[in-house]
Structure formats: C-alpha cells, structure tokens
C-alpha cells in the first residue's frame, strides 16, 4: 500500500492529474485527502462528510487546474449561516495537472530554439515534420517527442488532447505543410495557434487557407500570423522568446504589440 506521498509522486512523474488537499488550519492540521479523477479520494481530513464535500470541490479545482485555500465547517458546511459559531477548517487544495503541450510543425532552426524555450516554460514539446532527414531526435534532443508525419494524421489521432492551455506553432513556411497543420489546429480547442512567415508569405498562405475552407472570421481571428510579439527579434532564439512572450500575453490578456496586428517589414 503506497503512502499518499508515494502515490502523489508517482502520478506527478507520470504526468497524470492528481490533487492534494491538506488541512492548514483547524482540527487535524496536516491531515490529507488525495484526489484522483475517476476514483474515490484516499486519506481523510478527519470527518467523512467533510471528506465527501471537499473531495467533490477539489476534483472541480483539479479539472480547472486551480490551486488555493478553501474554508469549511467541521462537517463540510459551506453556507455562511451554517458557519456561525462553529470552528472552521481551512484546507489547501493543490492541483497537479499534466504539463501543457506545444506541438511544433516544421523541423527547422527556429524549431530547436522554440523547443528549448518552451521546455523552460514547462511545456511538453512535440516536433513534427514529414521529412525523415530533418525530423530526428539528434537534431531535437530537447523535445519530448519527434514525429515523422504529415500534420493531418497527427491531428486526426491526437487533436482531441489539445485544450486552451496548449499551443500549436507552425514554422515550415511551406504551404503544402502549413495549410494542413493550420487546418488541423483550427479543428481543435487549442488555445494558441502561431504561424511563422514574412507578411508576403502570410498573405499567400491566407489565400491557400481560404481555398482550403478557412473563411469564418472567428476562426481566422485565432491565428497569430505572422507569429510573435513585435520586439525586433532576429535570431531563432530571439524569435522563440517573442513567440513564447506572445503566448503568455494572450493568456493573461495584456496589451502587447503582436506582429499580426501591425504592418510593414518584420525585420527593419
């Protein structure tokens, strides 16, 4: 029988979702409940009704990937009237979600730099290119996975894994690869889609994408193309920073100068 810590450790290492609830104030300080999706919680906070209610709330926190302190009555009461004249129990609900994913299409110099920066930010990085000689582990040792494939089959098999925290970056500049990659990404719930290229490449690509059926304004709006913040990046490494900074800014909703929303030469 594994301890709570051992189960937590193993699930974190296998990138499986898990929640840890700890009493931080009130009776049974330090008591724990371990939350595993699809099964009953293990451990106890000291009261079965409290366990049931906190377990339910912690599962919701885990699904939302949020972490924070919650307050209850000794038997899990949550309404203010029930909490008058009673001790409260404060619990720390910590959610461990699998890392977000970044799928990078195109095995070019920019790919290695972007994969490196994405790893620093905690992404699970997949590099994909149809050309066997370029898509090798040796060229992308920092990636978690290197796939030799066209984009279509990858999205077909695994597109449903992608969600709002994830990113797809298309770096090939080659429309016969770019177009299926973008169309594949648009069909998912992925939060960020960045597509690299000069403004001329971008214009041509938008024509090809329209021919492929990308005409809905709210779908076109999802594309960050040309990719990256307008910080004057030149090298692959600087460009990787500009892409990752754009991903952060899109998530936080801060106003930053994206290349997409400007005009004129990208490198001046």
């Amino acid at each position: 029988m594994s301890s709570i810590y051992e189960t937590l450790r193993d699930r974190i290492r296998r990138d499986e979702p898990v929640g840890l609830v700890t009493v931080i104030e009130g009776p049974n300080i330090g008591a724990k409940l371990l939350i595993i999706p699809g099964g009953p919680p293990t451990g106890s906070l000291g009261d079965s009704e409290l366990d049931r209610i906190v377990g339910r709330d912690a599962l919701a926190e885990l699904e939302a990937a949020t972490t924070g302190v919650r307050h209850y009555g000794p038997q899990g009461q949550t309404t203010p009237e029930d909490l008058i004249d009673t001790d409260t129990v404060s619990v720390f609900v910590e959610s461990f979600s699998p890392p977000p994913q970044m799928w990078i299409f195109g095995a070019v110099d920019f790919t290695a730099a972007l994969a490196k920066v994405a790893k620093v930010l905690g992404y699970r990085v997949t590099v994909c290119d149809a050309r066997e000689v370029f898509a090798t582990r040796r060229r992308f040792p920092m990636a978690d996975e290197v796939l030799v494939s066209w984009p279509g089959p990858v999205f077909g098999a695994r597109g449903s894994e992608l969600g709002p925290r994830d990113a797809v970056c298309v770096l090939t500049h080659d429309s016969k690869f770019d177009v299926p990659a973008v169309m594949g990404a648009i069909a998912t719930r992925v939060g960020y889609i960045g597509v690299m290229g000069s403004r001329k490449t971008h214009d041509k690509r938008m024509q090809r994408l329209a021919e492929a059926g990308l005409t809905e304004p709210h779908q076109i709006e999802r594309l960050m193309s040309p990719v990256g913040l307008d910080i004057g990046a030149r090298t692959p490494e600087e460009t990787a920073i500009s892409i990752c900074a754009e991903i952060i800014a899109r998530r936080t909703g801060r106003i930053t100068p994206s290349l997409r929303d400007g005009s004129g030469a990208i490198h001046s």
Partner: protein
Amino acid sequence: MREILDDIERWRLNGRRVVVARVVNIEGSGPRDPGASMAVNEDGEVAGSVSGGCVEGAVVGEALGILHGDQQPKLVTFGYSDDEAYAVGLTCGGTIHLFIEPLTW
C-alpha cells in the same frame, strides 16, 4: 512539488528526514504563486524555493525547528506588517502564507 521530487527522493533513500514548505496564499505583491514549494532535510540541505530568495533562510530555520522539535505542521506568515518577517526582508511589500510540515504522510 514537481521540481523538488528528485531531491526529496534522494534524501529519503539516504534515510534523511524531510520537511516540505508550500506557499498556500499570497496577499499583495508576491514573487511565487500558491503551490510553490521547497524542501529541507535534517542536514539543512535545501531544494526549490518559495519566494524570490527573501524568506528561504527563515523557512530553513522553521523546518529544522519542526524536525528537532514537536514534529507538528504549522502555518507561517511572512509579510510587511510582521516584524519578524520584515527582519528577514520580504521587500516586495506582500504577505506570504506558508504551510510547513514534516514529510511523514
């Protein structure tokens, strides 16, 4: 926790007792979000961090105090208004609440 697991495992394999400190709440400006964690072993070795370096020294003191004392978990607050915390230098002006406990679960 993710980034301190390797160190914790190494210490456990060597039979060292371990204390884990986690940020559970911050008020105002705080350098690390809830969930940031740090581990201290009985030799005073440290893994991870819970602030920008402001309170780590004090956390080591608290952790060793727990290991050599009553072994009880505790909620500790460092903040601008707290004299002791101000002494350890949380210069960002925020308040940080840490839960510090022996790894015996």
